[in-house]
């Protein structure tokens, strides 16, 4: 009872602080922008810590944040090696390959209505290939190392980027297109000067969604075969060993890396689509 009151109290306090921050004059400065989610996260973590301690939840099921922090701090070299294997080699490579493929196919599809109509449904079909099925196949084909992970990621990020790019390339107003027509502009000028810029807000939508998919894909694919390094390897092995603090330390790495990846994309988006109403 006491614990519950404490937990709710922490929540209320965190929310109050954030409301004050969000409505303060400084709410649009970079510092406060980072501070607010941080306060929100700290609130959740405090509630978690209290709950684990008060209800005596077994560390085998849910470790306390403080335990996770200790494990995290003492396993930095392992975590770095795993990060390198999974995020840099697996996720990033796959993301880049998938992105290039999606752009290529989108441009191809965009050249004719016929191809759009043909490629989009087939692309949608690919998006629904569940990782549980594709991962073992790619491991079988490309081996247990990062190459198979990159392939899984490439397939996963392909569709969201494709769909958004195709939709974006079509998101021009009639008048904008007519203008190009009066210039007798051919395919490339109208692509480079009209459709691509107009598509950017959509493309970034796809790229942002794909960042999180890339991470999940690379990690989960390791469940189906891997060398003895990697975040997915570590997570699954640690679950087997009931080392849940290690599992959560890896999850923290994933969350940090994912947020940074997403944040970087969002930042680039802000830079290049400053003109879009949603950014003004």
């Amino acid at each position: 009872m006491m614990a519950l009151a404490l937990i709710l109290g922490v929540w209320a306090a965190g929310w109050w602080v954030n409301t004050r921050l969000a409505h303060s004059a400084a709410s649009d400065t970079a510092g406060v922008r980072l501070l607010i989610p941080a306060v929100f996260g700290l609130t959740l973590i405090a509630m978690w810590e209290i709950a684990v301690r008060a209800y005596d939840i077994s560390g085998v099921i849910l470790p306390a944040p403080s335990d996770i922090a200790v494990t995290f701090a003492s396993s930095i070299p392992t975590l770095m090696a795993d990060f390198n294997q999974t995020i840099i080699k697996g996720a990033l490579t796959g993301y880049i390959i998938g992105m290039i493929a999606a752009f290529g196919v989108a441009l191809l599809a965009d050249r004719s209505d016929f191809l759009t109509r043909g490629i989009l449904p087939v692309g949608a079909f690919m998006a629904a290939l569940p990782i549980v099925g594709t991962a073992p196949i790619f491991v079988k084909w490309l081996g247990s190392d990062w190459e198979s992970k990159a392939a899984v990621v490439a397939v996963m990020v392909f569709f969201p980027i494709l769909v958004n790019t195709v939709a974006g390339l079509r998101d021009t107003s009639a008048m904008q297109r007519d203008l190009m027509r009066t210039y007798g502009a051919g395919y490339w000028p109208s692509l480079l000067k009209l459709r691509l810029p107009a598509a950017l807000p959509f493309i970034f939508n796809g790229l942002k969604i794909a960042t999180t998919l890339a991470l999940i894909g690379a990690i989960v694919a390791e469940f189906f075969g891997s060398p003895t390094v990697g975040m997915g390897f570590r997570i699954s092995t640690s679950v087997g060993r009931l080392a849940m603090d290690m599992v959560w330390a890896e999850i923290v790495v994933a969350a940090l890396a994912g947020s940074a990846f997403y944040g970087a994309m969002a930042l680039i988006e802000k830079r290049v689509t400053f003109w879009h109403p949603s950014q003004r």
Binding site: S58, G59, V60, I61, P136, V139, K140, G143, S144, E222, F223, F224, G225, S226, P227, T228, F233, S236, T237, V239, G240, R241, L242, A243
Partner: protein, 310 residues
């Protein structure tokens, strides 16, 4: 009431003949005869039975002893109450043409190993042999093996882990003949560790109602095992019936049942203390990174099998 007669059993893999004794007991009404209402939860690639036990999702789990002892050291007090598997079915299967003839030849080779709590026997063995597992030139490169035998067939690995009753058969099914292969049974190497045993949480054993329930459960389960050993084909048919995926083949399950029977043959369900000690010694001998660091205390009880089998 429910508490006195309901039992949930967590398996450590999907429904297959490895667990035939329990399915047979269920199907043949042995549990019912004991007044028990048993639910069998199949396992899967991400199910850690100790975790399910800790979360209260099951009353009993099946587990390999290395994994269970490690869990115990990690702070989850699980206790072995019965041990239907007397010998180990674990082995390494290698291509003969890689030149592997003895354990020493592993150096410089790539070996597939199951993790998720099943890596302990291999790691202990290697450290007893003094072979590093870090991928160095005079050590082995360890590959985290998935759920199939592809790494061997694709020659990505020189050896992989197989169970006598399952994966080894699959290698043969893939068209490989036995004389293309070299096998190393853990049993033969003197590093066998106990496999499928029944474990419960220590605290529960203080509850006489629970203990009584477990006695009946172990008795019925062992009856199930006896029945399955004697009726291999029928046991396979029962597995087919309980397999909800509908993807298993009866022939494979019958073959598996035959191999399983060799592992359970002669077990009363009572834990063989010698085998227990051998398992513990193997695990403790893990060199710099032993699986368990101290001789476990209270990791098994014979009270239940004593009561159940008399």
């Amino acid at each position: 009431d429910g508490h006195a007669n309901d039992v949930t059993l967590q398996l450590q893999w999907v429904t297959q003949a490895q667990f035939a004794g329990y399915y047979a007991a269920l199907d043949q009404g042995f549990y019912e005869d004991e007044g028990l209402n048993v639910t069998i939860l199949p396992g899967g690639p991400d199910i850690a039975p100790p975790q399910v036990l800790a979360g209260g999702g099951a009353d009993v789990m099946l587990n390999w002893m290395p994994s269970a002892l490690a869990a115990r050291e990690a702070g989850l007090p699980v206790v072995n109450i019965a041990q239907p598997f007397v010998s180990s079915g674990l082995m390494l299967t290698c291509w003969k043409d890689t030149g592997i003839e003895s354990v020493e030849d592993f150096r410089g080779k790539t070996i597939g190993v199951w993790f998720f709590g099943n890596e302990y026997p291999f790691l202990s063995w290697m450290s007893q042999e003094g072979i590093p597992t870090d991928g160095s030139d005079d050590g082995v490169t360890v590959l985290r093996q998935g759920f199939n035998v592809d790494p061997l067939l694709n020659r990505e690995a020189d050896c992989i882990s197989t169970m006598t009753y399952n994966e080894f058969g699959q290698v043969l099914d893939a068209g490989v003949s036995e004389d293309e292969l070299v096998t190393f049974k853990y049993e033969d190497q003197g590093v066998a560790t106990l496999e499928d045993g029944m474990y419960v949480l220590e605290d529960n054993l203080e509850d006489p109602v629970f203990v009584d329930k477990m006695e009946r459960f172990v008795r019925a389960s062992m009856a199930g095992w006896r029945w399955a050993e004697a009726n291999v084909d029928e046991a396979a048919a029962i597995i087919m019936e309980y397999d909800e995926t509908g993807a298993q083949s009866e022939a494979a399950q019958a073959r598996m049942m035959g191999e399983i029977a060799k592992l359970t043959q002669g077990s009363t369900g009572a834990l063989d203390q010698e085998a227990y000690q051998r398992t513990v010694d193997t695990l403790l001998a893990g060199g710099s990174d032993p699986v368990i660091t101290a001789e476990p205390v209270g990791a098994f009880t014979t009270a239940i099998t004593d009561a159940a089998l008399n």
